[in-house]
Amino acid sequence: RESGIFKLGRVATQDEIAAWDIDVRPDGQGLPEGSGSVADGEVLFADNCAVCHGDFGEGVGRWPVLAGGHDSLKDDRPEKTIGSYWPYLSTVYDYVRRAMPFGNARSMSDDDVYALTAYLLYLNDVVTDEEFVLSKENFLEVRLPNEENFFMDDRSEEPHYASKSEPCMTNCKADEVKITMRARVLDVTPEDGGDDDA
C-alpha cells in the first residue's frame, strides 16, 4: 500500500473494481468487449423496454420518450430525446447498462446493451441500416446530432447577476403593479395541499 495517513480501509482487488466500475465516457473509456445488431436490439427492446417506452421509443403514458423530437429544441414545447438532445452515445450505453430496465437493472449482458444502443440509434434515424452492428470497435464513429449545442455554465454573465448593482428600494415601478397570472385558475394543486378551499 503506497498511500494514506491513517492507513484505514484496505486495498480494493481488481475483481472488486471490475464488478463496480462499469462507467463509460464519451472517449470510449470503459467500453467493454462486445457487439450487437439493430435487429437483435429490436427483439430485446420489445421484450424489456417497450412496455414503458413504446415499440418505437415514443413513450407510453408519462414514461420517457427516447426517439424523435428532431429540430424541436427551439419550440414552445421541445421534445428532448436521445436523437434530438443527448450529446454522447456513451451515455446511452452507460445508462442502459447501469440502470435499465427500470426495476430490473444490471440484467442485460454487454452484448445486449450494444444491441439496444444500436436499436435506439435506428429509432432515432442516426443509423438507417437494419443490418448495422454496434461494437466496441466502431462505437466512437457514431456521433449524435446535438453534441455541439452544450456549453459551460455562464449564468454569472446574465445581466441581472453581472451588474451587481444596488437594487431599487423605493418607487421602483412606474405603473401600477398588476396580476398577470394566477395559480388558482389552473387548479392543479393536490386537494390536501393545505387550506386551499377558498
Binding site: I17, D23, V24, P26, Y85, Y95, K173, G193
Partner: protein, 427 residues
C-alpha cells in the same frame, strides 16, 4: 391512557376557521377566535380540563417520539401528475409550517430515481478507484475512524420551482419551493478520503456513484471535491434516514441536490468528466435559442415568504403580524433580504434571525401592522458576493421558459382582504 381528545383533523379546524373568515370577511375571524370568552369567562380557563385532571403517557410510551397529533398536516406531500411513477419521483418539504432554519429529518423532501434502497450498514462498502495511488475499500466502521466535521447545509433540488417557469401553477410554497431541506451533517471531508487513496496528478474529476437501483453518477471537479464536500452518515445528530441515503451520502455544499449522491458506494477519480445521463439528458438547462448549459452546479440566491402563503393564510384579522421566510445561496452567506408589500414597487429590509451560516438556509422576519388591505408580497435575497435574486421575468428574458432547472426568481403572493393568499405573477 383514556382517550378523550378530539380525533378530528387539526387541519380541518383551521380550514373551517378560514372558511368562516372568508365567508364574512377577515375581521370576523378574530371574533370567532374570541367567541369562547363569555361574561363569566372562557370555559377553557374556568372549567377544569381533562389534561389537567387525568394522567398522561409515561416515559415508556414513545421510545422514538413523533409530533403531536394536532400537527398531523405537517407532512411531506407529492404531486402525482408531475412524474410517471412514485419511485422515480419527488415530494415536498412543508416549508409553510416550519420555522427557524433546521428541517426535521422526517420532513426533509425526498427525490429518488430508483426508490429507497434499504442497506444494512454492515453490508455497505465505499470504494475509491481510478486515478489514485491505491484503490481502497472502506467499511462504515473504517469511515467513522477518520477525523469528523459538522456542517449545516441546504440541499436544494435543481428542479425546485421548475413547474413555475411558465407562470403560476401550484398553490403553496410547499409545492413551489419545497424541494429544499437544511440539516446538520456529520461526516468526513471528501478531501481526507481522497488523500488516503492518493490522487494522481492527472486526477481532475471525481465521480460519486450510488448503490441504489439507479446507480446515480455525477462528475465533480477536483477543486470542489477538495474544498468542502463531505461524506456524511449523520443528519441532525442521528443516522441518515433511509430516504436520505442511509448509511452514507455525499454533501456537495451550495450545489444542486442531484450531485449529493445517496447510498454512496464508490468514488472514481478521472482526468475528464463522464457526461453521464444526469449531466446530459437531465440537469442541463435548455435556452430559448436551442442551446443548453451544462454543469450548472451552483444554486443561486433565492428566497420565499413561507407565511403568509397559500397554505398559511392570515386568520387573525388586522393588526400586528409576522411575515416569515427563508433565504439561501449556494455562493455563501445571505447578507440581506428585502421584502415588498406592493409587488416590488417599494422594499423594506427584513430582519435576519438565527445563525447565518454559509450555504445554509437563513430565516428572515418582517413585523408589520396589517391594515387589512390587499398585498402583493415578495422577498429578494442578496448573498455575500453581491448577487441579488432576480425576478422571474429577468430570468425568462435571459433563458426562455424551457430551462426546467434553476428557477430562483422572486415569488409573489397575493394577499386578499379576507386573508386568503394566492400564488400569482405580476406585470
Amino acid at each position: 391512557m383514556t382517550e378523550t381528545k378530539d380525533k378530528g383533523s387539526p387541519s380541518l379546524s383551521r380550514r373551517s376557521l378560514l372558511k368562516a373568515g372568508l365567508a364574512t370577511g377577515g375581521a370576523a375571524v378574530a371574533g370567532v377566535a374570541a367567541s369562547g370568552a363569555r361574561a363569566e369567562g372562557d370555559p377553557l380557563i374556568t372549567e377544569i380540563q381533562d389534561w389537567n385532571r387525568y394522567l398522561g403517557d409515561g416515559v415508556d410510551a414513545a421510545p422514538y417520539g413523533l409530533p403531536s397529533e394536532f400537527e398531523a398536516d405537517v407532512v411531506r406531500r407529492n404531486v402525482p401528475w408531475l412524474t410517471a411513477d412514485a419511485v422515480s419521483s419527488i415530494n415536498f418539504t412543508p416549508l409553510h409550517e416550519l420555522d427557524g432554519i433546521i428541517t426535521p429529518n422526517g420532513l426533509c423532501f425526498e427525490r429518488h430515481h430508483g426508490g429507497v434502497a434499504q442497506i444494512r450498514p454492515q453490508d455497505h462498502r465505499l470504494m475509491i478507484n481510478g486515478l489514485v495511488d491505491t484503490p481502497l475499500v472502506f467499511t462504515m466502521e473504517d469511515l467513522k475512524r477518520f477525523p469528523r466535521e459538522n456542517h449545516v447545509y441546504f440541499l436544494e433540488c435543481a428542479a425546485n420551482g421548475g413547474m413555475e417557469w411558465r407562470g403560476s401553477q401550484l398553490n403553496g410554497c410547499q409545492f413551489t419551493h419545497g424541494m429544499v431541506h437544511n440539516v446538520m451533517y456529520t461526516g468526513v471531508k471528501l478531501k481526507t478520503l481522497l488523500e488516503e487513496a492518493g490522487v494522481k496528478t492527472n486526477g481532475k474529476w471525481v465521480m460519486p456513484e450510488g448503490a441504489d437501483a439507479s446507480a446515480m453518477t455525477r462528475s465533480i471537479p477536483m477543486e470542489k471535491a477538495l474544498d468542502d464536500c463531505l461524506v456524511a452518515w449523520k443528519m441532525n445528530g442521528e443516522a441518515l434516514r433511509p430516504e436520505q441515503g442511509y448509511p452514507l451520502r455525499l454533501a456537495v455544499p451550495g450545489w444542486e441536490g442531484n450531485m449529493w449522491v445517496k447510498w454512496l458506494r464508490r468514488l472514481e477519480v478521472g482526468d475528464e468528466p463522464w457526461h453521464h445521463r444526469e449531466e446530459t439528458s437531465k440537469y442541463t438547462d435548455l435556452l430559448a435559442n436551442g442551446k443548453a448549459r451544462r454543469f450548472t452546479w451552483v444554486m443561486d440566491p433565492k428566497s420565499v415568504i413561507t407565511s403568509p402563503s397559500p397554505q398559511m393564510p392570515i386568520s387573525h384579522g388586522e393588526g400586528p403580524m409576522v411575515i416569515s421566510g427563508l433565504a439561501w445561496s449556494g455562493n455563501g452567506r445571505i447578507t440581506r433580504v428585502d421584502v415588498s408589500l406592493d409587488g416590488g414597487r417599494n422594499w423594506k429590509t427584513a430582519r435576519l434571525d438565527g445563525p447565518s451560516l454559509s450555504k445554509s438556509l437563513h430565516r428572515f422576519y418582517l413585523d408589520i401592522d396589517w391594515d387589512g388591505s390587499e398585498m402583493l408580497l415578495q422577498s429578494r435575497a442578496m448573498d455575500e458576493h453581491g448577487f441579488y435574486q432576480p425576478t422571474k421575468n429577468e430570468l425568462r428574458a435571459a433563458r426562455g421558459e424551457n430551462s426546467i432547472y434553476h428557477n430562483n426568481g422572486i415569488q409573489t403572493w397575493y394577499v386578499q382582504k379576507n386573508g386568503a393568499v394566492e400564488n400569482v405573477e405580476v406585470g
